[in-house]
Symmetry: C2
Subunit: 207 residues, 2 copies
Amino acid sequence: MTPDALNRLVAQLSKLPGIGEKTAQRLAFHVLRSPPEYARNLSQALLEVVDKVRLCPRCFSLTDGPTDQPCGFCTDTRRDDKVLCVVEGIADELAIERTREFRGRYHVLHGVLSPLEGVGPDQLRIRELLVRLESGAIDEVIVATNPDVEGEATALYLVRLLRPMGIKVTRLAQGIPMGGDLEYADQATLARALAARRDLEPRVRVR
Amino acid sequence: MTPDALNRLVAQLSKLPGIGEKTAQRLAFHVLRSPPEYARNLSQALLEVVDKVRLCPRCFSLTDGPTDQPCGFCTDTRRDDKVLCVVEGIADELAIERTREFRGRYHVLHGVLSPLEGVGPDQLRIRELLVRLESGAIDEVIVATNPDVEGEATALYLVRLLRPMGIKVTRLAQGIPMGGDLEYADQATLARALAARRDLEPRVRVR
């Protein structure tokens, strides 16, 4: 008994990740209760994002600059060309950027190796990574894939591929998170933290 | 460092209820990863819903029928004109409809009395409810507002308003939900269930 236009909106919203049919209905009601400008603005923003946003041809970050031009990360002259951080996706890149601790360049793989889901090296931006590394300007590659099964496998694959090229390959440290509680840390994390324990030097301090 | 078009989409999505900035960003990335048709379909569905869907001039349900025409609930000749179910919102109406137990008409208040939020009887569709009741065709009004403070206050207000008109006013039964557990039922619910206990007759059975 609900209007077709409403059903169509609910169906489209239900396709979003983590949005079930009940939530989609609640969102659709919110849109209906809001001033019509809201629906128009959201509608416009959706069109613009697919029309304007594309991947940087060098690092595969998102950009809305001129076609075939590298993104802001790649063209920023204040960033260090010698260090390259390899991430699974854009969200990871933004998370690292928010730390304000990394001033090198990025390379976004857009996925991780996952044989079960049919994702091999050719489905990721690994070929393009190798092309960038062949320039010889990069001294260190930080493999910042997630510390889960696929992320670890991808990191291992990259290490085996890049070390023979004479490039220093590093991985983000694994251990107890800041503010974490040893009592509640899982065994794997605690074991890693123990194995990777480090000398307590005066320069190793909480910032 | 994220493209403006992406920031604008994230800002618009963050305005949806229950969607924080991180979730909005995740949804925006999903839109970007999906085929562009998805963004266009969702964009179109948003425009259609605000252009076509309006409130029924009689019961204030949603309809996309011709302007000033009553909705499907109001015009369905198989429904009973004598029983009217008053609900807070469209979602409540649809929940009751899903039971397939109610075949009367509806009236949607679009809110509940809430003096703290400045919602009085004039902000709800109560005047229009009284106009419908004056026709004399309605024998019973089921006040199906939620069993919370505002819903109960609204129900009490309606009872006091409608009883003097000689109309039977009923309220949805309150008690232990089906499949519920007495041990974990809250005191208020259990107290209501006790107070409203009923004779166990053969016809009172689980359907």
